[in-house]
């Protein structure tokens, strides 16, 4: 559906992206991951036909973005970094305008607008001036304008920025609901977002693709390595020596208190089992034992910053 090859963009002497090539199949949801300034927004702007690249080509649904921009733009819904909303318009009026711009047939505009409003929960503000909306609501209007024409391809630049947790969850559900018929590219810094919504990730750093794969294979790149968080009832001064007998344990680190520890291990479920039984038989009062979802985070940090994280939340 989307083909990008050798895409390069120079801002003056500054190279923002460097020979990017990738392709996205119809119905895929692809996460664009990368640190600040990696070139995610730049790539998206080129695919949407917002600006031309310095070299290389991009095509959407078989149409070259530069030779046939109108055909491409008809098929794309785009949410830029700043939602492109007019402060002096009413939410509904604005969505109608965008639908008309995107060449939705006149008799279908109301239906499409209703649909977009419903999907982004804008019902209660649809008669309000956009100027008076909070940041999160403006972001939602931005998402609504991207989906209002029911485009084949959705390009969302950090779609959940500024939304409250409930909305974040709903937008993720929306994205999941759209996959299949729609091809979606979304950029984000938030890893759980990628894990929750995308099948495929493209990690870029300094304008180059450093990894491109399915979530599953990226996450299991370091197969067999995992981290466990344990929470105990009693203070344990040295868990390391307790677990010394399990050879698969590579390191044991102290958490927030002596009741919380993280254990890195190389091995499968049998190792986890022996660790838990060991703690239980020692009578430390095992309250919690959770495998930490650190895989993608680690992969991400390693690939982009070339370092291994010490775990913890992003």
């Amino acid at each position: 559906m989307i083909q990008v090859s050798d895409l390069t963009k120079d801002y003056g002497p500054r190279r923002a992206i460097d020979k990017l090539s990738f392709s996205v199949n119809k119905g895929d949801v692809v996460g664009f991951l990368g640190p600040n300034g990696a070139g995610k927004s730049t790539t998206m702007k080129i695919i949407t036909g917002f600006m031309a690249p310095s070299h290389g080509t991009a095509s959407v649904a078989g149409f070259d973005v530069f030779e046939n921009p109108i055909e491409v733009k008809k098929r794309i819904g785009y949410l830029p970094e700043t939602p492109p909303v007019y402060a002096d318009m009413y939410v509904r009026e604005y969505l109608r305008y965008v639908a008309a711009l995107k060449q939705v047939p006149k008799d279908k505009i109301e239906k499409y607008v209703d649909h977009a409003i419903e999907k982004t929960n804008l019902g209660e503000v649809q008669k309000r001036l956009i100027h008076h909306l909070s940041k999160g609501f403006k972001q939602r209007v931005g998402i609504a304008q991207a989906i209002v024409s029911d485009p084949e391809v959705l390009i969302l630049d950090e779609p959940t920025v500024g939304l409250d947790p409930k909305q974040v969850a709903e937008i993720r559900d929306l994205i999941k609901a759209l996959k299949g018929q729609h091809t979606i590219i979304l950029s984000t810094h938030i890893l759980p977002e990628v894990e929750a919504t995308c099948e495929k990730v493209i990690i870029i750093n300094k304008g180059r693709i450093v990894a491109e794969d399915s979530i599953h294979s990226l996450a299991t790149m370091e197969k067999g390595h995992q981290r466990l968080h344990v929470r105990l009832r009693k203070d344990v001064s040295d868990l390391k020596s307790v677990l010394a007998g399990v050879s698969a344990v590579t390191s044991v680190t102290l958490g927030a208190s002596q009741k919380e520890w993280s254990i890195d291990l190389a091995g499968g479920e049998d190792v986890v089992e022996s660790i838990s039984s060991l703690i239980v038989t020692q009578g430390f009062g095992l309250l919690e034992l959770t495998p930490a979802k650190r895989d993608l985070e680690d992969v991400f940090l390693k690939l982009t910053y070339g370092q291994e994280s010490k775990g913890g939340a992003v």
Binding site: M51, A52, I76, P80, D88, L101, K102
Partner: protein
């Protein structure tokens, strides 16, 4: 083309539903309500004097010259400063607030964008000219008027407003800063009048002709006097087309930066 219409409709609404526009209309009508009766009064005095003394130039005795043309020159002065205020936001603000991204990623051409905005601006100018036209119209309750030259004169000022709108739209496309757009626009609007002055300064006959042809005042005064000349109309429309074309180029080039 449907893109042009969509944008035109949206921008026209943006003008006519905006309180600022009505404030401007109100101010214009305040000015005319003050100036116009004075002019009428002067004119009637002139007429009374004429009965007693003969030395007054005869064209001063025509209400068209005596009152309406004065009003038009005031209107022109107002347009020089008001049209930039209307057009400055058309591109500059869109660029600054990033709403321009929406237009540039919608299935519309740069020409659609420029034409939609241009005709909307011209439509707003129409509103202003119409407000001014209400004054001669009200005079028709008191006196019988010769409608043809009056209408031609107002059409002339409307065309000049269209020229301003084109130049100011171009100015707005050049920058992200609305204040800068406003100032550049006024420079454009004034400079097209100064070209007329060139006609008086230049010595050579050919030079004078060129300046005269490029001068807005030459062409406007013909229209204002109630005569339609083809080369005048050609001049107005070519300036409009030129600046719309330039604005289109600027919009198109923003995709290449």
């Amino acid at each position: 083309m449907s893109g042009t219409l969509t944008i035109l409709k949206k921008e026209l609404k943006g003008f006519y539903f905006n309180p600022t526009f009505w404030v401007i209309c109100f101010l214009i009508s305040v000015i005319f309500s003050w100036v116009f009766p004075i002019q009428l009064n002067l004119f009637s005095q002139l007429l009374t004097n004429y009965v007693m003394q003969q030395g007054v130039p005869s064209n001063q005795l025509n209400i068209h010259y005596g009152v309406f043309l004065r009003q038009l020159s005031y209107l022109n002065l107002l347009l020089i400063f008001v049209v930039p205020a209307l057009t400055m936001k058309l591109f500059a603000e869109e660029k600054k607030l990033r709403t321009f991204d929406l237009l540039l990623t919608s299935p519309v051409t740069s020409l659609d964008i420029v034409l939609g905005k241009y005709f909307a601006a011209w439509g707003a100018v129409f509103g202003l000219v119409f407000v001014a036209f209400l004054y001669p119209l009200s005079t028709s309750l008191l006196a019988t008027l010769n409608w043809t030259p009056l209408l031609i004169a107002f059409a002339g000022i409307f065309l000049v407003g269209g020229v301003y709108a084109a130049m100011d739209l171009f100015a707005s496309s050049l920058t992200e800063n609305t204040i800068a757009a406003y100032i550049i626009s006024i420079m454009f609007n004034l400079s097209i009048w100064f070209i007329g002055i060139g006609a008086e300064v230049v010595d050579s006959e050919a030079g004078r002709k060129i300046f005269e042809h490029m001068s807005l005042s030459t062409h406007l005064s013909a229209l204002v006097e109630g005569t339609i000349r083809t080369n005048g109309l050609v001049f107005f429309f070519s300036v409009i087309v030129l600046f719309c074309f330039l604005a289109e180029r600027v919009v198109e080039s923003s995709r290449w930066r």
